[in-house]
């Protein structure tokens, strides 16, 4: 069983019911949830505040793309998972980002966050 104990994970999701569910999943996995943020602006504030180990972002927040958040987190070296309902979400030229198709179960989420963390670690080595 994956255990994210002690890790702070930023959650950006504009749909309240989905946000609650994902928050539960992350809590079940032992993580501390930052957010959830329902807008790009709020998410950016939280991201810039720092203290984030990983992030789970919805690709689209109230009609705005998650690109600015991705850019800020990338600059900060924070691993992330982008959740999407699109087959191929538009992320511009942002490559190498862990994607997860909605709807997803807790196991899928855990695996995706693990992969993102692992990729981040290997990039830092």
């Amino acid at each position: 069983m994956t255990d994210f104990s002690g890790r702070s994970i930023l959650l950006a999701e504009d749909e309240p019911i989905v946000a609650m569910m994902v928050e539960d999943m992350l809590l079940d996995l032992g993580a501390r949830v930052i957010g959830p943020a329902a807008s790009v602006g709020k998410a950016l504030d939280l991201a810039r505040a720092g203290g984030i180990d990983a992030a789970v972002l919805d690709v689209n927040l109230n009609g705005e793309t998650c690109h600015p958040i991705v850019d800020v987190l990338r600059a900060a070296g924070v691993p992330m998972v982008v959740a999407t309902g699109y087959d191929q979400p538009d992320l511009g030229d942002r490559t190498g980002i862990e994607l997860i198709q909605k709807p997803y179960r807790r196991e899928h989420l855990a695996a995706a966050v693990e992969r993102a963390l692992a990729a981040s670690r290997s990039a830092k080595v």
Binding site: V18, M20, D87, Q101, P103
Partner: protein, 864 residues
């Protein structure tokens, strides 16, 4: 997304049309390039031995025929395009300029003769206006004729001189001569007669014979009376009497009294010739001879004279006649010697004519070549007239010799050139015939014989309307008549009268001296080719117009590119403004598309591919981005060097944008559907928070996930169809089973979306059961899914057999109650698949057999 089917067919048709046009154009070029075909007009003009010049409005030479080149001593390359007044400034201010300008201005024909001083040559010119505003000049060198005329004038002067001579002879002749009026008054008398009469000549004038010579007056009046009454001369009458000169001496004269007539035939007087019989007979004969000779000479025109005396057989030649023979006077005294200078083969004819003249024909005419002692040769025409005395006895012959060398040479040259022309006419592939002014065939060449299937013996001398009565009243008569009358050339195309299935191009030109020359070419094939070409061009234009298809032709080695106007339009260029090279094209292609497109073309050429389909985007000069699709054909040299890339482009921007728009819509729809599924999932999670309901929540989440997964597969396939293998794999891997525990085997099978979702849900239920109770619930258990397809009896359907087999699991006990899973599998799936589903809870493992009849889903789109 590949090109639409219709567009592909259209491109194929275009390529075919292009190939056909190329073939037709080659054929056309072959027809036009055929020997004789291009120089038809010239064939006619060349057949006229006159020089022909054509000037345009600006006095530039636009045409001259071979004869003109020869006469002017200048070739076409020197004259064409140059201005008459610059080339021949000596003609300025001469009649040439005057007449030329007059015809150019009045558009009325003119004809005149001109002496061209720089060459000292005479030309006869005829000028006609030409329809396009210029003039056509027919001319020929008439210098020889002018010179002949000059000689004739000289010879007239000679005749006058002879007359003067005669006057002198009259005056001083050793024979008495006088002219009397009707009253026998002396009007004129020569010295000899005056002497004979013993009275000064002046004293005679105005006085009668009776007044002056009463001794012979009675006799004289007796002779004169009938002459004045009847007009009949008194020839060789003997007159005797006494004259004051020698009184008492009776002298005898032979006299001829001849009436003198005025213009109206009235007798105004008498001419008397008197000669003493003893002495004067020779003088008299000589005088007659001289008169005869002069007459013949006048008849013949001129030149050397001769006489032959029958009694002695001696000949006498004038100095000029001697010069013709190239001999001296001594040789000239004997015909036997002169005859040796005649060309041997001409002697017999001359002798024969001479004999005929002596035998009664009186007139002698012969033509022979004289080979002079110095070896030079002249051709001479000899004419003579037999001389007889009063009794009719032959006395000799007088005649003239005329040098006809030049005339004969000219005639021979003319015959030779005619023969040469005839040879040319025979050898040309065009048919050629000529008609005289009475419409009779005078020339009919070999090609005409072949074409009409008639020999020249059949047609020559016959009128064209008799040979081809059907041509009467047709375009032929209509067009030929003005040529015959109006003296102008025409060209027309028509159906052959002799061969109604053939088309001919006729060119008719008037001939100098009357009649017309007609050259013709069979243009049936050419017309057919032209019609086919026109038709195919129209079809191509139609196709291009209808579809907005541009055509390009890239010459790979030079980089030169040719674009059709439509291609320029596609690229937003004004017609004719394309730069014409490959770099200009590359400048239009979007930078993100250009390297791919260039690599695409390079790879095709390296692989020697014949055809290539491609797509790229361009930015037009106005900034608009357009999507271009096209197809091309490559042409290679024998060694494989790529030579040309020829093809078509079409603007597919609207379609591409519509496609893009559709994709965005589908993406958005998928996103929303999945978001909704995620919300449902979240609701379920919040609803079943009680740990007692954990089991139900998991089951629900699993089913929701299975639905979402099937949905994902369909999304990737644009909701068109899904692959069975993918559905099976996704359904099983969702349960987290290790790959080595799954055995999936079967051919590719496409499923309709609804079928795919139902099957995915059923497989999820099987997988859930296997994970909870079956083979996947213990280590070592395995699941095998095997399927196969076979054609169904019904068209458009396929039979699918799928078998789910679990092995290595715990002993299976049939469930006490059929839950959602079993019902999903046995009912929903069976209904959806239009088949049978058998779910068998065997102790050694669950087996599920599915027999389905599938509607064939179409091939997925966009998988190329």
């Amino acid at each position: 997304m590949g090109p639409e089917q219709g567009l592909v067919e259209e491109k194929g048709r275009l390529a075919e049309l292009e190939a056909r046009i190329a073939a037709l154009e080659a054929e056309n070029a072959r027809l036009r390039g055929r020997p004789g075909g291009a120089s038809d007009a010239e064939t006619i003009l060349s057949s006229i031995s006159d020089g022909v010049l054509v000037f345009d409005r600006d006095w530039r030479f636009v045409y001259l025929n071979a004869a003109a080149e020869r006469l002017l001593g200048s070739g076409r390359d020197e004259l064409l395009g140059r201005v008459q007044w610059e080339v021949y400034p000596a003609t300025l201010g001469t009649p040439v300029e005057g007449h030329y300008r007059q015809v150019m201005e009045t558009r009325r024909p003119a004809a005149f003769e001109n002496h061209y001083a720089p060459w000292d040559r005479w030309f006869e010119l005829r000028i006609d206006p030409v329809a396009d505003g210029g003039i056509i000049v027919y001319f020929r060198d008439v210098t020889e004729r002018k010179r002949t005329e000059e000689r004739l004038q000289a010879s007239e002067a000679l005749a006058r001189a002879r007359l003067d001579e005669l006057e002198a002879i009259y005056a001083s002749a050793p024979v008495g001569l006088c002219i009397l009026d009707r009253d026998l008054r002396y009007l004129r008398i020569n010295e000899r007669l005056a002497e004979t009469n013993g009275i000064p000549a002046e004293a005679h004038l105005g006085r009668t014979i009776r007044e002056l010579l009463p001794g012979i007056a009675d006799e004289a009046e007796a002779i004169a009376r009938p002459i004045l009454e009847t007009g009949l001369p008194a020839i060789d009458i003997e007159l005797t009497g006494e004259t004051p000169a020698r009184p008492g001496e009776i002298r005898t004269w032979v006299e001829s009294w001849l009436p003198i007539r005025d213009r109206d035939g009235g007798i105004t007087g008498i001419s008397v010739v008197a000669q003493e019989v003893t002495e004067a007979r020779r003088v008299q004969a000589e005088l007659r001879e001289t008169a005869e000779r002069l007459t013949v000479a006048m008849d013949a025109g001129r030149l050397g004279d001769w006489s032959w005396d029958a009694a002695s057989g001696a000949t006498r030649l004038s100095p000029r006649a001697l010069a013709l023979f190239g001999v001296d006077a001594e040789v000239g005294q004997s015909w036997d010697r002169l005859r040796d200078f005649l060309a041997p083969e001409d002697r017999a004819a001359a002798a024969e004519s001479f004999a005929r003249a002596l035998a009664g024909a009186d007139d002698y005419a012969a033509e022979f070549r004289i080979i002079r002692p110095d070896g030079t040769q002249v051709t001479v025409a000899s004419q003579g007239r037999v001389q007889r005395d009063a009794s009719g006895a032959l006395t000799g012959m007088v005649g003239v010799l005329r040098d006809v060398t030049e005339e004969r040479a000219a005639a021979a040259a003319l015959r030779a050139s005619e023969a040469k022309l005839a040879g040319v006419l025979e050898s040309v592939s065009d048919g050629f015939y000529a008609l005289d002014s009475d419409w009779r065939f005078t020339v009919f060449n070999a090609a005409a014989e072949r074409y009409f299937g008639k020999s020249r013996e059949e047609v020559l001398g016959r009128r064209v309307w008799d040979v081809y009565p059907d041509a009467r009243g047709t375009i032929f008569e209509e067009r030929y008549t003005p040529v015959m009358e109006g003296r102008r050339s025409i060209t027309f195309e028509t159906r052959s009268v002799a061969r109604p299935d053939r088309m001919v191009e006729m060119r008719a030109a008037p001939l100098r001296g009357g009649g017309i020359a007609v050259a013709f070419t069979d243009i049936t094939e050419r017309k057919q080719a032209e019609a086919a070409l026109r038709e195919s061009r129209e079809r191509l234009d139609l196709a291009v117009d209808a579809h907005g298809i541009g055509i390009f032709d890239w010459h790979v080695q030079t980089g030169r590119v040719i674009w059709s106007a439509e291609e320029e339009r596609l690229f937003g260029l004004e017609p004719g403004t394309f730069g014409g090279d490959i770099d200009h094209w590359a400048g239009f292609v979007l930078p993100e598309d250009l390297p791919r497109m260039q690599a695409h073309m390079t790879a095709a050429m390296e692989a020697r591919r014949e055809r290539l389909d491609f797509a790229f985007r361009i930015r037009r000069p106005d900034g608009a981005v357009r999507h271009i699709e096209g197809a091309a054909r490559f042409l290679y040299a024998e060694d494989g060097t790529p030579l040309r890339m020829v093809g078509t482009n079409a603007d597919v921007t609207e379609r591409a944008l519509a496609e893009e728009h559709r994709r965005l819509l589908v993406d958005e729809l998928n996103h929303r559907v999945k978001n909704t599924l995620a919300i449902v999932q979240g609701l379920a999670q919040q609803t079943f928070r009680d740990p007692a309901t954990r089991c139900e929540r998991d089951a629900f989440e699993g089913r929701l996930a299975a639905l979402a997964t099937a949905h994902n597969v369909l999304t990737r396939e644009n909701w068109h169809s899904a692959d069975l293998g993918e559905i099976v794999r996704d359904a099983l891997t969702a349960h987290g089973a290790a790959p080595h525990r799954l055995l999936l085997r079967g051919p590719p099978v496409r499923l309709e979306p609804k079928t795919a979702v139902t099957l995915a849900m059923a497989l999820h239920e099987l997988g859930t059961n296997a994970t909870k109770y079956g083979a996947l619930s213990v280590p070592g258990g395995r699941v095998s899914v095997a399927w196969s397809v076979a054609p169904d009896q019904e068209r458009g359907r396929t039979r699918l057999s799928l078998l789910w087999t679990e092995t290595g699991g715990p002993i299976v006990a049939p469930p006490a109650r059929r839950g959602f899973g079993s019902r999903m599998i046995e009912r929903a799936l069976a209904a959806e698949l239009d088949g049978a589903v058998r779910l068998d809870f065997r102790p050694e493992g669950v087996v599920c057999g599915i027999e389905a009849r599938l509607r064939e889903a179409g091939a997925p789109v966009g998988t190329e």
